[in-house]
């Protein structure tokens, strides 16, 4: 579904709060409390914070997988749980497991069918995202034979298969080696340049700072700080996607020893 061009915000969280009900008590455990965030189209937002700070909860709420206890989550003006919103998002959960009995290609065809991609277009899109994610050669192998990194890349592939306007990625770099993380960063910048809005959660601060346009740091379900990278760090934006010196050494050694 094409996003409305006149709506100012791709992602809009207004006083978003979520409490999980714990068994045996009537009171909920607050996972997120009163979060307000707005993100324009084509921008990349990094959600940073320790474990349990509410990053995954926020992403799930934006994906329409859970109902806010208070406040609202909108995707281009549509309620996150609505079908219209879901037609505009691609979601990658944290360390997903996919059916081991399917091949990579078969799984992507399944996902494409669920996204109502026309059959004629489906084959082409599947080949394109397999190439994009570097899984061409493994496309016809069973997912059970995939490494952790390959499964992560497959997850990314299914998220972008239907060319969503918004990508929600929970720890996208998890399981990827340094080369894979570099390629991922490049791919995500390309998507953002093409107008895709990206929200991702990350643990690695350096790569988040290099990749993202905006950062939001969460702590105990609260927004501690949010803003552009230069504003937060007081330095000029680092837009290089060149590998760092350590990464350069790493890649060099790998290429020498196969």
């Amino acid at each position: 579904m094409n996003p409305p061009m006149d709506y100012p915000w791709a992602i809009e969280l207004v006083d978003f709060a979520k409490k999980y009900r714990t068994s045996g008590s009537g009171h909920g455990r607050p996972a997120v409390g009163g979060l307000t965030l707005r993100l324009g189209a084509g921008q990349i937002l990094g959600l940073l914070g320790p474990n349990g700070s509410g990053k995954s909860t926020t992403l799930k709420a934006l994906a329409g997988l859970l109902t806010p206890t208070a406040g609202g989550c909108q995707i281009f003006g549509h309620q996150a749980e609505s079908e219209a919103a879901r037609a505009m998002i691609g979601y990658l959960p944290e360390t997903p497991q996919y059916s081991p009995h399917l091949t990579g290609r078969g799984f992507l065809r399944y996902c494409g069918g669920l996204s109502s991609l026309p059959r004629v277009e489906l084959g082409l899109r599947v080949s394109a995202v397999l190439s994009w994610s570097g899984l061409e050669e493994a496309a016809d192998r069973l997912i059970a034979t995939y490494s952790k990194g390959m499964k992560q890349r497959l997850g990314l592939a299914q998220a972008i298969l239907h060319e969503p306007a918004v990508l929600l990625l929970d720890e996208p770099a998890s399981g990827l080696d340094p080369a894979g993380r570099l390629i991922l960063s490049q791919r995500l910048r390309e998507l953002a340049a093409g107008g895709t809005t990206i929200v991702l959660s990350a643990h690695l601060l350096t790569s988040a700072a290099e990749l993202c346009d905006r950062l939001a740091i969460l702590g105990a379900g609260r927004l501690l700080v949010e803003g552009t990278v230069p504003a937060l760090l007081g330095v000029a934006p680092v837009r290089t996607l060149e590998p760092s010196r350590l990464e350069q050494l790493y890649l060099e050694k790998l290429s020498l020893h196969g």
């Binding site: 579904m1 999980y20 799930k60 994906a63 329409g64 997988l65 859970l66 109902t67 079908e83 879901r86 037609a87 998002i89 691609g90 979601y91 959960p93 944290e94 360390t95 997903p96 497991q97 996919y98 059916s99 009995h101 399917l102 399944y110 996902c111 069918g113 669920l114 996204s115 109502s116 299914q158 239907h162």
Partner: protein, 253 residues
């Protein structure tokens, strides 16, 4: 149309997953072995009665295996999707959650159809072999098909009830146990009617589908009875799947 395609895809995916489960293979083998055990008892040589025994025992094994499969596989597949987060690939895409429930049910129904088809063929083979051994005693295959069909209806109803429980429950174990419990309660409905325990009558009367004994004496049910039974089955399947979708709509994944 899009909804139909999504349901079909989820059903196919569910069937493929189910066929690979060890549980499915185990229950299928168990039922086949029980059937074979009935055949082995032919040493008693009861003549024509032996065919009745093999038929009864075979249908009983199928019914038992089918009921267990319906409850256990439904619970396992549903919670497997939740635990591996594979369900996110479905629910974050356009489409309603009821389509997921419908697809899951359809996939399990297809699995049960495959299960009963394979075991019916096995039973037909056993009966044919023994009939020849008894000098060409008559076996009415259409009766066996009717009986298998009724067992399939019953098992899919158990699957629908299990899915209804699973939509709310938090674990596969709880869902399986409760699914089997409501299946037992459904079997007790006739007794509940007699005893006045009307509150039990929330659940369908599964004993309605135990016509295999009547079929075993050569009485094919009338067309009106079959239509009525199909309507009864369809109404309860729609009710339980509808309620499962209703509960699942607001479930937090």
């Amino acid at each position: 149309m899009a909804a139909g395609r999504r349901i079909r895809l989820i059903a196919q995916h569910t069937l493929a997953e189910a066929v690979h489960l060890r549980l499915t293979l185990g229950l299928g083998l168990m039922s086949a072995v029980l059937m074979g055990a009935a055949y082995r008892l032919r040493e008693f040589n009861f003549g024509g009665a032996e065919l009745k025994f093999i038929n009864d025992f075979g249908l009983g094994a199928m019914g038992l295996g089918g009921g267990l499969l319906a409850a256990l596989v439904t619970a396992q597949l549903f919670f497997q999707d939740l635990e591996t987060r594979a369900i996110y690939a479905v629910l974050t895409r356009p489409g309603q959650r009821w389509e997921y429930i419908a697809g899951k049910f359809t996939g399990v129904a297809a699995l049960l159809a495959l299960f009963f088809a394979v075991l019916s063929l096995l039973l037909v083979g056993l009966l044919q072999v023994r009939a020849v051994g008894l000098g060409g005693a008559s076996v009415r295959w259409e009766i066996l098909l009717y009986a298998s069909g009724l067992l399939w209806l019953k098992s899919t109803l158990i699957a629908a009830m299990t899915l209804f429980v699973g939509a709310y429950a938090r674990s596969a174990l709880f869902t399986s146990c409760l699914g089997l419990l409501v299946a037992a309660v459904g079997q007790l409905q006739a007794w509940a009617q007699q005893s006045g325990w009307d509150w039990l009558r929330v659940w369908p009367n599964l004993a309605l589908f135990d016509a295999q004994a009547a079929l075993g004496v050569g009485q094919i049910p009338s067309a009106s009875w079959m239509i009525g039974t199909l309507g009864y089955w369809a109404a309860y399947v729609a009710l339980f799947n509808g309620l499962a979708a209703y509960i699942f709509q607001r479930r937090e994944i």
